[in-house]
Amino acid sequence: MVNDRAEKYRSRVRKPDDFDAFWDHVLRQAAAIPLEAEVVPDPLRTSEDVEVFQVFYTSIDHVRVAAWYCRPARRAERTPAVMVLPGYQMDPPIPKEWARKGYVALSVAPRGKLRSNRQFNPGYPNLLTHNIVDRHTYAYRGFYVDTWRGIDFLLSRAEVESTRIGVTGSSQGGGLTITTAAMRPEVCAASAGAPYLCGFTDAIELTHTYPYEEINDYLRLHPERRAEVEETVAYFDGINFADRISCSIIVNIGLQDNVCPPETGYALFDRIGAANKRLYPYAGHGHDAGRARHSAVADAFFARHLLGREGSL
């Protein structure tokens, strides 16, 4: 029954007419800024099988962004890569496990996260509503670009097989996976779990848990700003990015997700433009979105699309 109700839900999200023009302008602004990548070996985190580096690069508004970069100690001359994107509150992980699976891996800390918060630090809670009345300065404008610039970093690396780049994450990382797959045609495979930042205006009615509750808090204090808030978030809603996705993609959701309502997961999946897409709804699971079972699915998916192992998903 939960499945039926969630699947039949009608999203309120509508795409602004100038959505593409807005983001094309942002991309042009970002492209004018040199990446200025810095790659610093991290001997504390390096082991016999995985080399670990701290990476820094410049993003839009000249904000310096940090990332963890891991590569297998023994690898081919050119190796497929996976970009790992973080949840809302989590500290970006060191993606050693991806290197152990045979990928070069980049884990980005978009602006405001630890190590990327010297120039921009609205804090948590607060990020979700920082400048939410103005799409030109809303927190996620730069935050999204920071993740897309991660692809530029991977493309700048000689050891990366540039035709085999994947992107993955869960929760906010799932939402960022959607926007990155939509905006970066170099991505050839994407796996998004429990996608956040999809169906903002739906989610704040469907659930009253943080982080979406930050928007309800804001509107309770500033009810007169609702129209401006709804106008802004439409430009940042993953559902509105989804029709631009053309790479192979899988999405997993939990039907008892108390953070990112499953209704929004279905609405997102419906709008994804890719021909090769598959949804994995997990009954009896919450914001984990069935991770314990799904991780093998995601591993097989990337093994097929990035490592070329036929027989995988």
């Binding site: 060191i94 152990r100 848990t209 943080y210 997700d257 108390n258 009896g284 079972r293």
Partner: protein, 296 residues
């Protein structure tokens, strides 16, 4: 109790908490008011916490969220129904190094677990445990709190706090950091325990010093001091900290213990924990304070 922890508590007692409490209208609702709290801990070090007080006449049961192993301080844990604040006093504390308590010390994640670990006297968790004790002392001082219903909910720090000071009537604990750490870390590649492996890989000569420090923090040593009713959240069967691995800890606790093994579902695990707390606190209509997607 060991002299190590006696010394920590004695040092903490030298500094009064001197709380400053300020209402935060942005996060206040018709059913609860949120306050930012600043208070002093060992060091001296100024901490920050979020205190939520239900509307209406108390006293209310309370849930204390000691410092977590992450940079972000949450008002209530992500995914918890905001309406839960209508029934419980909640207090979430940032330990030194976490956001809002990161001046002058800003912790790194990963990195915190091994900061100063080769010397028990300067290990960063000496201060963090003291911070947590100070937080519980503060919460107990609030007249809105029903002293007979005070739940500590968190990782190892929750159990350690219940062991080191009075006031916890219930504990929900998910051991992560300090249960047989020296023995279990080499069996894992997952952070945060991987921090120990990283550290000893770079500094193998410090292994004995690390082991000595960790011995002060091992939950097994502190468990006999815990008399609160405890819900011990174990990992799924066959994982590093599953029910079998935690059996010695469950046996060592002096209060009544319920061991729950994870079903690898945040829904099932979370629902069990929410219902356990509500049941222990005499809240009959738990349905009304569950997240929408968890209700029957």
């Amino acid at each position: 109790m060991t002299s190590y922890w006696n010394d920590v508590l004695a040092a903490l007692a030298l500094y009064p908490a001197r709380p400053e409490i300020e209402a935060l209208p942005l996060r206040s609702t018709a059913f609860a008011t949120l306050y930012g709290v600043r208070l002093t801990s060992l060091g001296p070090y100024r901490l920050f916490g979020y205190l939520s007080i239900p509307a209406g006449a108390g006293p209310f049961p309370a849930i204390y969220y000691p410092p977590k192993y992450q940079s972000v301080l949450e008002i209530i844990p992500q995914g918890t129904a905001n309406l839960m604040r209508s029934r419980y006093v909640t207090f979430a504390l940032a330990g030194r190094g976490q956001r809002n308590a990161d001046t002058p010390y800003a912790a790194l994640f990963p990195g915190l677990l091994t900061d100063g670990i080769d010397d028990a006297a300067s290990y960063v968790f000496r201060g963090i445990v003291a911070d947590s004790v100070r937080g519980l002392e503060f919460l107990r001082s609030r007249r809105e709190v029903d002293a007979a219903r005070v739940v500590l909910a968190g990782n190892d720090i929750a159990l350690m706090t219940a062991a080191l000071t009075t006031g916890a009537t219930h504990v929900v604990t998910t051991p992560t950091l300090f249960y047989q750490t020296a023995e279990l870390a080499p069996k894992s590649h997952a952070y945060p325990l991987e921090e120990i492996n990283d550290y000893l890989h770079l500094y193998p000569a410090r292994a004995e010093a690390v082991r000595r420090t960790l011995a002060h923090y091992d939950l097994l040593g502190l468990a006999p001091r815990v008399t609160a009713a405890t819900l011990l959240m174990a990992g799924a069967p066959s994982t590093l900290l599953d029910g079998a691995a935690l059996r010695p800890l469950a046996t060592a606790l002096r209060g009544p213990v319920t061991v729950y093994e994870s079903q690898q579902s945040l829904y099932k695990d979370g629902l069990y924990s929410e219902r356990w707390m509500a049941g222990q606190c005499g809240i009959a209509d738990v349905q009304s304070i569950l997240p929408e997607h968890w209700r029957d």
